[in-house]
Point group: none
Chain length 160, copies 2
DNA sequence: TGGGGCAATATGGGCGTCAACGGGATGAAG
DNA sequence: CTTCATCCCGTTGACGCCCATATTGCCCCA
């Protein structure tokens, strides 16, 4: 499997290091990423981590904004200014810098969450709160909010 | 027969393993699944388990959304983050991780329920309660109550 | 047709491997 | 000299691999 899937929580040691889940490391290698590119998520206290293609994705997002508005400039500043490379050491660990801590609130533990083409790093309790919100939104969508659109039958198709 | 049918309850051993029913394993093999994809059901304390085609189906659905809207992000978060791979050992068992226990309430026994193209894992007593609700809903519907059974997830299992 | 035995399945447990983690040593940088 | 990053090694616990056993349902044969 070459997609980032599932989630795990790992501890930060006394030297500020944390192990990237072995499964994720395998995906990184399979995808041929030479280095990990990390960006602060635009509207969440999380870090998006992946290959360089992640940057393209963000730039496309910014391109959608009206270039005359301040928003686009803000986003560009944010994305290009506040990104970093994460170096894996020989044991598959990365150092948790202030860059990471500030934006995410991460202190002693890191929650890694697979997102398909990339993965995210969260402070565990914030992740839990956010996950609950997501499930709530999806559930409402599925129960008939027509503005939402999740196809019926997706999860367990129905009312048997 | 290449569909998941019937149900069975198996015990979790001291090492946290449980046998997947032999009949299900046969279906898995016949369908050529290399690994099992497990997803936390949205509105029920159950796990949906199937092959990678289950994941493909979800990803195809996500691809239909505008990738920069919240909906697409929510769906990806759910499909990639609230899921995991289940590895069958050589005796056809899987290990019951915290990932499974949290969402389902499974502790010492697992109820496997065939659902055609996939199967589900439940905590036995919760499955029984849910089954009773389903029966009642169907019965009322048959007796002409139009409100019964229409609202999807109305009795949705008191999940979460 | 009833009993014995065979085969397959669920379950228990020993054991080696590997990932997560802690910590020392070395070297570069301020 | 202090701080921090990198490298390397040891420990621990979880997980996969393998083998053993028991229980059950089925088939064959007398």
């Amino acid at each position: 499997m070459d997609r980032f899937l599932s989630s795990a929580v790992n501890r930060i040691d006394a030297k500020g290091r944390v192990s990237v889940p072995a499964h994720f490391r395998a995906v990184v290698q399979r995808r041929g990423y030479q280095e990990l590119y990390a960006l602060k998520a635009l509207d969440r206290p999380a870090l998006d981590v992946g290959g360089l293609d992640l940057l393209d994705r963000y730039e496309a997002r910014i391109a959608m904004e009206d270039p005359f508005l301040q928003t686009a400039d803000d986003m560009s500043f944010f994305v290009h200014g506040d990104s970093d490379f994460l170096k894996l050491d020989q044991d598959g660990r990365i150092t948790v810098t202030d860059f990471i801590r500030e934006h995410t609130g991460i202190a002693t533990e890191v929650a890694f969450v697979g997102r398909g083409t990339f993965f995210q790093m969260w402070e565990p309790s914030r992740l839990a709160a956010y996950g609950a919100q997501v499930r709530e939104r999806l559930l409402r969508m599925r129960q008939g909010d027509p503005s939402a659109g999740m196809a019926r039958g997706a999860t367990g198709g129905g009312a048997e």
